[in-house]
Structure formats: structure tokens, C-alpha cells
């Protein structure tokens, strides 16, 4: 087997044959990403309505369904309606600590058979397997959103404690709830924010997967016919809550 030293040594030998033969510009990176991220946040806080409108347009363009409500307390009603229209009953949701509110009781009042995800890992493999089967059998997955990108209509979800990866993946309907603090304008801004997130030690509870979700799962592999919901959800719903509800 080739070792790291042999492998990199081979690369260096080949690199040495062409010293400086190719013009290159150094990559542009923010020197202090945390400060730039803070500036972006401040600026966005002032012009969030335009950003939201752009997000709505792009999100709908990629096949998402957008809703706007005044407060987090109105969310269960919207989710209940989505569920009833689709004859969906079983719901899995991020843990209240990750979602910022325990929505399972009011969702039960809406007639949904809801379950919150555990706040961390499950050590017992059988319990883990049983939970996976319940997530796979659920009709609806309810999650929060870490970033909502206006340029592309995308939702960024970071995995972690209480926010399992499959909640937004296995159920056929994904419903995501967010407020103005998640809104960003562009991919370039996402780059800066990701730099800032990674600048120090990862905070406790942060997981190992960041997913950028741009509309429902799709394929065009058979005669280029667009078909939704091939492996992931066939519908993605985003509910914007006007009043931030966390802290």
C-alpha cells in the first residue's frame, strides 16, 4: 500500500518539474471571517424584506411551497393543513431544543401523530433501528433552517444534536420553519459564514453534515422527463415566521 509520504512525495516530484510555469492568482478569502460575517449579518438585518421576497421567488421557482405567518404559534395550524390536504398523519420533528419550541403537543391537537427526535445519540442499536424505521415510515418531517439563501432558494440544514439528518430526507413531505435571522442573499455570503463557523472549535452539538437543499428531490434520468421525489422528499414547504422565536 502506498503511504502518505510516498504519495505526497510523488506529487512534489512532479510539481518540481514545472516551477512557476503557470500563472495563478491566490484565492480571495476573508482574513477575519468572523468580522466579515458580523458585517453581513448587520447589513442583512436592515434589508431582510427584499431578501425574503427574492428567497420566495427562487424557492417557488425550484418547486418549493412558501408560507408566511406572524408567530411560531401559527405554525402548527399551517402544518396541520398541509398534512390534511395530503392525508399525512405521522410526523417526525427536530427536538424542541433544536427547533426552539416544542410543537408536538399543538400538532397533536391538529390531529397529527407527532414525535420529537431525541436530543442526542441513542446508544442502544435496537432503539436506533426502531427510531430509523419510524422516521422512514413518517409522512412529514418538520425541521428548522440554519440559512435560507435568496439567490438560489435554498435551505441550509446543519446536522447535530436533536436534528437528525433523515428528518428532512426520508419522509415524502419536508416542512421547514425559519425566521429573518436565517436569511442570506448569496452563495458568496454563505461562503463567508461557513468560514466563520469553521474558524474556531466546533461548538458542542454540531454534527458532521451540512446539507444545502434546493427544492424537492428530482430526476430527469428517464427520457429527460422531470420527476419529483425519487429518493428524498417529493415536496418541500418553507414557513417564514415574522417574529423570531428563539431567545
Amino acid at each position: 500500500m502506498t503511504t502518505r509520504a510516498e504519495f505526497l512525495g510523488e506529487i512534489r516530484r512532479e510539481m518540481a518539474k514545472t516551477p512557476g510555469a503557470f500563472p495563478a492568482t491566490p484565492a480571495l478569502r476573508p482574513a477575519r471571517p468572523a468580522e466579515v460575517a458580523e458585517t453581513i449579518r448587520r447589513e442583512l438585518a436592515e434589508r431582510w424584506p427584499e431578501t425574503l421576497e427574492r428567497f420566495r421567488q427562487e424557492f417557488e421557482r425550484v418547486g418549493g411551497v412558501f408560507y408566511r405567518v406572524g408567530s411560531i404559534d401559527a405554525v402548527p395550524g399551517v402544518v396541520g393543513r398541509i398534512a390534511r390536504e395530503r392525508e399525512a398523519r405521522r410526523l417526525v420533528a427536530w427536538h424542541p431544543s433544536a427547533l426552539g419550541r416544542d410543537l408536538v403537543p399543538p400538532l397533536r391537537s391538529e390531529g397529527l401523530d407527532g414525535e420529537a427526535m431525541p436530543p442526542g445519540a441513542l446508544d442502544d442499536p435496537r432503539a436506533r433501528q426502531a427510531l430509523r424505521e419510524r422516521i422512514a415510515a413518517a409522512d412529514l418531517g418538520l425541521t428548522g433552517v440554519d440559512l435560507a439563501i435568496a439567490e438560489t432558494g435554498s435551505l441550509v440544514l446543519v446536522s447535530g444534536a436533536g436534528r437528525p439528518r433523515s428528518t428532512s430526507l426520508l419522509p415524502p413531505y419536508h416542512v421547514a420553519v425559519f425566521d429573518r435571522t436565517a436569511l442570506v442573499e448569496s452563495l458568496a455570503q454563505v461562503g463567508v459564514l461557513l468560514e466563520a463557523w469553521h474558524a474556531g472549535e466546533a461548538p458542542a452539538g454540531r454534527g458532521a453534515a451540512i446539507n444545502v437543499i434546493t427544492g424537492p428531490s428530482r430526476t430527469a434520468d428517464i427520457e429527460l422527463t422531470l420527476t419529483r421525489g425519487v429518493h428524498g422528499p417529493k415536496e418541500v414547504h418553507a414557513i417564514f415566521v415574522e417574529a423570531p422565536w428563539r431567545g
Binding site: E10, E14, M15, L28, R132, A208, E223
Partner: protein, 469 residues
């Protein structure tokens, strides 16, 4: 599977006679071209981003050792394992070792050209591990025992009727020739596999050195399934896929999907950073990254260095007048199309592209379409030259061009040749063209006309003018 003992000319000829293939190729490539044009048409910053993306690739290649070291360190710090494969055989051995150690019986795979390139599926099967392709197009061609015919749309050569027939026969599920119904069948079949498999294998569209992040781009969500459900995740990536930072990554994401399918972003961009963390319910317990050379490293100082910037978007295939006629299978190797010829030479050596290097009109459409502006025609010419210099050109071509070169080097001979040619061409000329040459020269005119030697050549007229003065 493509039979390489059949010469390229013949493989291409068969593709040209396949009327269904012709129609499917025209429809698919035309659609991709339109989608790409619309995507960049409404994206004024696109051109500048393409330049920036290329500059980042060049800068990264210049310090490839440092960026890879950073990537390896970061992945290991996150609890992942990094492996080094100089050859396809070594990569297979590494992956089979992981499969064996973890007791895997089935491996779910998301679309990956790198694992196609190393013929991983055959090796897994031999070792008793069932590989399951989960990208719908790849799944279809795996059931049909075929190879991808397009980098991003592997099954564009199949009709819905053929897919329905295939599903009915192989899966034992009566299927209607309706894309939506067929997709539902595949979803159900593959959902079970995702939930059962112990091993997940992916490629990598990018890897971010600074954060130890492997990035997968899919539309269907199979990349997410594989990074969420199986116990073990193995990602195989060519060394050239590393980018320095998250800032850089965003530049590539902004142009990749636009070039491939005309989307602003593919549906799912999945960034994974090592195995599942302590507080996480899901994600693999083990994460492995296999860094693959397989001919790439040699090109850091080679003729094909520019091709190391390729993002595998497929845009050059769609615009290529040759690909549009013959499709992916006729090329005979993992990577088809203009960039595929270069990658085939990179992986299999120049001799493998003796004929393929000529499967291009050098029109430059690929260069225009390439999101990172890889000068494919320049390198095709370089490959032709290298093959001629290595004595690999066909004997007839060598002697013909040798004679022509002698003629050009000797003005007296050249002047004498024109009147002689006018006599010789008389029985062959039809109007101002020669449509068929005799003997082995006929190979040249089988697909081309030759203009006749002019009644008065330029040098004859020039000499006449000189005399008049």
C-alpha cells in the same frame, strides 16, 4: 459493454446507424445546451466566476501538496481515515479491505465517475459484496449491464419503454412505460437497499482542504442517503478535486450546476466532515477518504495538466458535434466526449487515444462551453502530435504525410507536382471535387471530399505576374 477489439471507426459507424440513439442524443444534448444557455444568460457575473474558478484551480494545483496535506490532517482530526491509491488496482484493494473488515454484504453507491474509472463494481461482486447503484440512471444501466453513455445523464440512450421492459424482467415488477411510475418503482426498490446496506460508497465533487469537508452534489438525494444511513462511508476522489476553502467552494457551486443542467444549484449539496459526531443520532461510524492518482499526478507536469481542472459537468459533451452523433458508448472508455478523450489518455496512456484524438473537428465548442475554460482542442492536437512522434500513426497516413512533407520542403518538386497532379486527377475529378481516391488512399475520401488542384495554382499565377512586371 463496449468491445474495444472493434476499431473506433466501426464503433462510431454502428452508433451512426442506430436511429433511436441518434434521436435520443439530439433531444438530450439540445435540451442541455438550451438549459445551460438560459442559466448563464440570466447570470451576468457568470463569466467572471468562470475565470475565478479557473484561477483557483491553477493556484490549487501549484500548491497541491500543501492543500492535500491540509485536507488529510483535517479529515483525520475529525476522526476520518485517509487512504492513498496510486493505481486503480490499489484503490480497489483498499475499498475491498474496508468492506471485508466491516463485514459488508451490500454497498449502496451514489453516482461516481471515479468508481466507474477503477471498475469497482466488478471487484466488489467478485469479493461477494453486492454493489447497488442508486442514481436512477446508473441503476437502470446497472440492471441492463451497460456503461454510462453521458457523464451526468448515464441512461440517455434508453427509452421509457426499454426501462419498463427492463424493470419488468429484472425486478419482476410489471411496469408501465411512464417515467413517474418507473421512478416510483426505483424509489421503493432502492429505499430498502439504503436502509439495509452497511457500506456506502460515493465519489466527491469537491473536497475543502481548510475544513476537511467532502462535498457531494446530487439531485435525487442518494448522496444524502448514503452519508446518513450506512455504518461505513467511503468517498473516492481524484487528487485534483481539492479546493482550498469554503469561499472557493462557493465559486464552483455557482457554475457547476448551471453548466451541467442549467440549475442554479443542484437540489442537494451535501458537505460531510468525518464520521458521525458524539451527539448525533445518524451518520456513519466510520468515514474513509480514498485519494486517487491513477495517472493524474504525472500530468501535473504533463501535456494534459489543464484537464486536471475538469469539474465533470458534461457541458463539452453536449456541444460536441462528434459526441452528438456517436454518443458515449462509441468512445469505448469510462469518460466520453471531448474531455473524455483527454481523461482516457491520462488514465490509459496516449496509445489508447490514437484514433480517439481524431474524434474531434477542433471546432472549439467544448472550449466555449467549459465552465473553467479548458483548452481541449489544444490538447487534442498535442496528443495527435505525440502519437505521431511516437510512431503510432497508421502506416498509410505516415507515408502519405511523409511524402506531402517532402513535397512542401522542396520548392522545385512542389512546382513540378501541380501539373502532374492535374493530369493524374483527370479521371477522378467530379466537377471541382474528388469524391473517391483509389487504393488505400480511399480511406481518406470515405468521409471527405478532396478539392481538385486548381487549373492555375497560386504560385503559377504569381510567377506570371512577376513576368508581366
Amino acid at each position: 459493454m463496449t468491445d474495444l477489439s472493434v476499431p473506433f471507426r466501426e464503433r462510431a459507424g454502428r452508433a451512426l446507424d442506430d436511429h433511436f440513439l441518434q434521436e435520443a442524443l439530439t433531444i438530450a444534448t439540445t435540451k442541455f445546451i438550451e438549459l445551460r444557455r438560459e442559466a448563464f444568460g440570466s447570470f451576468p457575473e457568470g463569466d467572471a466566476l468562470r475565470d475565478r474558478a479557473r484561477a483557483i484551480k491553477e493556484a490549487t494545483l501549484q500548491r497541491l501538496d500543501a492543500h492535500l496535506e491540509r485536507l488529510i490532517d483535517r479529515v483525520e482530526a475529525l476522526g476520518g481515515h485517509v487512504h492513498f491509491a496510486r493505481t486503480a488496482a490499489e484503490a480497489r484493494e483498499i475499498i475491498l479491505g474496508i468492506a471485508k473488515r466491516t463485514g459488508a454484504r451490500m454497498a449502496v453507491k451514489s453516482k461516481s465517475m471515479a468508481t466507474e474509472e477503477i471498475d469497482l463494481n466488478e471487484a466488489l461482486e467478485h469479493a461477494g459484496v453486492t454493489p447497488v447503484e442508486t442514481d436512477l440512471g446508473e441503476y437502470i444501466i446497472q440492471l441492463a449491464h451497460e456503461k454510462p453513455s453521458h457523464i451526468i445523464a448515464p441512461a440517455i440512450h434508453k427509452t421509457k419503454g426499454q426501462v419498463a421492459e427492463l424493470f419488468t424482467r429484472v425486478l419482476g415488477r410489471p411496469a408501465e412505460p411512464d417515467p413517474e411510475a418507473l421512478t416510483r418503482i426505483a424509489r421503493a426498490e432502492l429505499r430498502e437497499k439504503f436502509l439495509q446496506a452497511d457500506l456506502g460508497i460515493t465519489g466527491a465533487n469537491f473536497a475543502v482542504a481548510e475544513t476537511g469537508t467532502v462535498v457531494l452534489v446530487t439531485n435525487e438525494g442518494n448522496g444524502r442517503m448514503i452519508t446518513s444511513l450506512p455504518r461505513v462511508h467511503v468517498a473516492v476522489m481524484g487528487v485534483e478535486k481539492v479546493v482550498p476553502s469554503m469561499t472557493d467552494l462557493m465559486v464552483f457551486l455557482a457554475i457547476l450546476a448551471r453548466s451541467a443542467t442549467g440549475q442554479k444549484l443542484s437540489v442537494y449539496t451535501t458537505m460531510v466532515q468525518g464520521p458521525r459526531r458524539a451527539d448525533e443520532l445518524e451518520g456513519p461510524d466510520e468515514f474513509h477518504l480514498v485519494l486517487l492518482d491513477n495517472g493524474r499526478i504525472r500530468q501535473l507536469a504533463g501535456t494534459l495538466r489543464e484537464a486536471l481542472s475538469c469539474l465533470r459537468c458534461g457541458a463539452c459533451l453536449n456541444v460536441c458535434p462528434v459526441y452528438r452523433q456517436i454518443g458515449g458508448h462509441a468512445y469505448g472508455y469510462t469518460y466520453p466526449g471531448p474531455i473524455g478523450i483527454l481523461l482516457t489518455a491520462m488514465l490509459n496512456g496516449n496509445a489508447a487515444v490514437r484514433d480517439l484524438a481524431h474524434a474531434s473537428s477542433l471546432c472549439g465548442a467544448c472550449l466555449d462551453a467549459c465552465p473553467v475554460r479548458i483548452d481541449i482542442p489544444r490538447m487534442l492536437i498535442a496528443l495527435r502530435k505525440e502519437n505521431v512522434e511516437a510512431g503510432r500513426a497508421p502506416a498509410a497516413e505516415r507515408s502519405a504525410f511523409g511524402a506531402f512533407a517532402r513535397l512542401l520542403r522542396h520548392p522545385a518538386l512542389y512546382r513540378a507536382a501541380a501539373p502532374l497532379a492535374r493530369v493524374l486527377q483527370r479521371p477522378l475529378a467530379r466537377g471541382r471535387r474528388i469524391r473517391r481516391l483509389p487504393l488505400f488512399f480511399g480511406a481518406w475520401t470515405r468521409t471527405r471530399d478532396l478539392p481538385v488542384v486548381a487549373p492555375r495554382t497560386f504560385s503559377e499565377r504569381w510567377r506570371a505576374l512577376e513576368r508581366e512586371r
